[in-house]
Point group: C2
């Protein structure tokens, strides 16, 4: 069976109404295209769990700031179709801006407190635009499950919160971050990196792992763990830190003392490229495991 | 067939999934209960147009201001059930606050420019709360059509705008205002009126009709038409004007010159009771009709 591509809201709706008839479950993987192994993980999980898999490909203009990379964001429709085809995707929804925004929106989705930390202050309006377009994609495709990668874990948390708050009839499924062999989180934006930048780009992941280890070893002051991460990044002259934060994994608020599960997340710039990454840390569990190993 | 009442999200969903199977259409009439002939018009239209009719009854606390009438808003569950039963309603969804707001919401629906005039400035946060709960009700019941009365025409315009902006798969159907014989728009709040207040309560409708007549007669300055309406209301000592406005019927912005269809809307207080009303006005069409009659 081959992947069908739709560029209009009316036709994807018609397709999914027929394909989803009789209670067949629909899985949506929302993407901005330039598909890579991170998306691949999501698609494969959706393929296993759902009767019908639809991948949306839309570089949503409203979620980019005026100085951001909307223009140069990679577009590769033909490659993406092949990528979906070999993974058994049933339908691609790749709408034009005219379909998604026939006129400027008046109504939007206002995100909660979870949008205020981490990437929030550096990308004003970003998460409001993301939640709004995700809600539109949900309304258009009516999925039973939607798949989000943990690289954008703040986005996934905000989407899950929107679903809970607004009673949307969709289950949010997350997948762990797909990584290159040196630890760099796979991202469509990695292709912006020049070869010499790519060589040092894994520093963010290394720094986060150093901080996580500190907390696993018993460091309860997040500032100390963050300082350790900062030191690692500062050794790379091409890297500029945007933020490094330890937050609680639910509300994404800064924690004063590490005493349970937290998330450490960061954004850095390498040249003209912005990279983000994050790790789950559970100090307690790790300490307990360590004790057991020692005992 | 009798009306079934549901107070839980999970059970109304289950009922509607079964009732709506095989493409049977679902019509939703969202109400705050205390059902009257205004709701009756909506229910009867839904009954004609849809296979399954569900009436939601929920006095949404978040859309009331701190000084508003949330506490004293009329509640009459038993009467409402009978009202629905005799009109062939299939299901009532009457959730508790715990079902709708198990925790304070973080995510909400931000309304557009249409929320800024008319009732907007006098009820800060009202339309955001209304759109949010309406979106929740849509997400819970998944209606093909939803019915809104024109008494709350600003609400209906905002809901329709939300549906268009967010691609919600529901058709918004409106019904004209149901009125008492003296012209008073029927409202659950009318029962707050003391007998001597009720006697003069139709003044708002009379005032709006005077203004509409002025515009139909060729008055192109909305301020003059509004002044005529104000004069009518000022004759009633118990009445206090909150606003009187002539707006365009799409974006609800004030019009400088009346040259096509407009809406004249107002809110007044009679004692402790706030009344709203509005009329469609089309100066051109009326003038043309008049010319024809004269010619």
């Amino acid at each position: 069976m081959s992947t069908e591509t739709f560029d209009r809201i009316a036709t994807i709706r018609e397709f999914l109404r027929a394909a989803g008839a009789g209670g067949r479950s629909i899985g949506l993987v929302p993407t901005m295209g330039a598909l890579h192994d991170g998306h691949g993980t999501l698609i494969e999980k959706a393929r296993k769990e759902c009767d019908v898999v639809v991948v949306s490909i839309y570089v949503n203009p409203t979620q980019f700031g005026p100085d951001e990379d909307h223009e140069r964001y990679p577009r590769q429709a033909a490659d993406d179709e092949v990528y979906c085809e070999v993974r058994g995707v049933d339908a691609i929804f790749a709408p034009s801006d005219d379909q998604m925004y026939p006129e400027p929106l008046e109504t939007s989705v206002r995100p909660g407190i979870e949008a205020r930390r981490l990437c929030g202050p550096f990308r004003p309006g970003h998460f409001e635009a993301v939640l709004t377009v995700v809600l539109k994609l949900f309304a258009i495709t009516g999925p039973d499950r939607a798949y989000f990668g943990d690289k954008d874990f703040q986005q996934r948390i905000l989407v899950a919160r929107m679903v809970r708050d607004l009673d949307l009839p969709v289950e949010i499924v997350s997948c762990p971050i797909a990584r290159e062999s040196d630890g760099l989180a796979i991202s469509s934006r990695n292709r912006y990196l020049k070869p010499e930048e790519r060589e040092v780009a894994s520093v963010l992941n290394r720094a986060l792992r150093v901080a996580r280890q500190r907390m696993a070893d018993g460091e309860s002051d997040p500032a100390v763990a963050i300082e350790a991460a900062r030191t690692v990044i500062d050794l790379v002259p091409q890297a500029r830190i945007e933020y490094l934060e330890v937050v609680d994994p639910e509300r994404l608020q800064p924690v004063g003392t590490v005493s349970g599960p937290v998330r450490i997340a960061g954004a850095i710039w390498i040249g003209e490229t912005r990279l983000i990454d994050n790790l789950e840390c559970d100090s307690k569990r790790k300490r307990r495991r360590k004790k057991k190993a020692e005992g």
